[in-house]
């Protein structure tokens, strides 16, 4: 069972990485969260019943864990409507500029919005997003439109 689990996580670890980057600011916190998510996935693995796609199950656990685990208090954020092109203090230097800018923008959304937009960007249907988040399909549609508008104004 452990082999199958490790193979599965190995193949889909991009999901965990993206969720960590979205929900934590610093490299250290992201690494801690990565470990926490792998641990929670391992604990939940015996109850995974193949009723949903592996990636859907992983997203549900990864997002729930990111939101529900406790983090150290960070310094208060100064919110800016637009992010300056060359100002990404929380990102480390070896990350492409566009990627750093994208994650800064995503982190300015609230926790629910981040969950919805990440699933949307992964091409999940409204029904699947509703199942993972617990929202109605209508709400998902409305929310996605609002988030898109918000992101446009942050990124431009």
């Amino acid at each position: 069972m452990e082999k199958a689990f490790l193979k599965m996580v190995d193949e889909h670890q991009r999901i965990i990485y993206q969720v960590c980057r979205m929900y934590r600011d610093t490299r250290e916190d992201q690494e801690d969260l990565f470990q926490e998510i792998v641990f929670q996935l391992w604990k939940s693995f015996p109850s995974f019943r193949n009723e949903s796609k592996i990636s859907t199950w992983m997203y549900r656990i990864a997002l729930s864990t990111s939101i529900a685990t406790f983090r150290k208090k960070s310094l208060p954020l100064d919110f800016h409507e637009n992010i300056p092109e060359a100002f990404h203090p929380r990102e480390v230097e070896d990350i492409p500029e566009n990627e750093a800018r994208m994650y800064e923008a995503l982190r300015s959304l609230d926790t629910a919005e981040r969950a919805i937009i990440s699933l949307y960007l992964e091409d999940y249907s409204y029904r699947e997003i509703a199942e993972i988040t617990g929202f109605s399909e209508n709400n998902v549609g409305v929310k996605i439109n609002r988030i898109k508008t918000k992101l446009k104004s942050i990124l431009n």
Binding site: F5, I61, S64, A68, T69, R71, M102, T111
Partner: protein, 184 residues
């Protein structure tokens, strides 16, 4: 950056790939950044309290104290240990439902219960212990000072426990609110 660029940046984003041995290392609780330490702390605390429970009657003259006080001390200590274990299990299992909204709602309820129980159990255990130590004892100024120190320690410990669980609950409360609003 427009939304199409955002989508393509998202698709291309990825960090350093972890090896299977690194992933396997992460599945072990002893390597967990917080739970490993919490587990050791829980085990040590429980062993010490159970050891105290097994010897207190002889060492602290339990036979000379009222029966109700003996029972109160034992029950409050068991409540304290039970609450510690329950707190640890909650930290161990942050995912509490089939979808994120339900999971957060359930976790919030658990944390609220833990917050109340941690204050009540710390307080009751502390008071029972203080009563036990001070009843039928001739109090000298030195013993009064000792008792005052213990009361102060009890107050601080109860407050710290309250603050820890409150801060955890507030974090979840904020996220749970955002999800409830989005679900409404």
């Amino acid at each position: 950056m427009d939304l199409n660029e955002l989508k393509s940046t998202w698709d291309q984003s990825g960090g350093r790939k972890k090896s299977q041995s690194e992933l396997q290392w992460m599945t072990r609780i002893k390597n967990h950044p917080k739970l490993g330490r919490a587990k050791v702390k829980l085990i040590i605390e429980t062993i010490l309290l159970v050891a105290f429970l097994s010897v207190y009657y002889d060492i602290l003259d339990g036979g000379n104290k009222p029966l109700w006080l003996n029972y109160t001390l034992i029950i409050s200590m068991l409540l304290f240990i039970g609450n510690n274990i329950s707190g640890y299990l909650t930290l161990l299992n942050p995912v509490q439902g089939d979808n994120i909204t339900t999971s957060l709602k359930n976790l919030k309820l658990k944390l609220r219960r833990l917050l109340i129980l941690s204050v009540v159990s710390s307080f009751v255990f502390g008071v029972a212990l203080l009563l036990f130590l001070s009843l039928n004892v001739h109090l000298t100024p030195k013993k009064y000072a000792l008792l005052a120190g213990m009361i102060l320690t009890l107050g601080i410990m109860t407050y710290l426990s309250y603050k820890t669980w409150l801060s955890r609950m507030n974090q979840i409360h904020q996220s749970a609110m955002e999800f409830s609003e989005a679900a409404a």
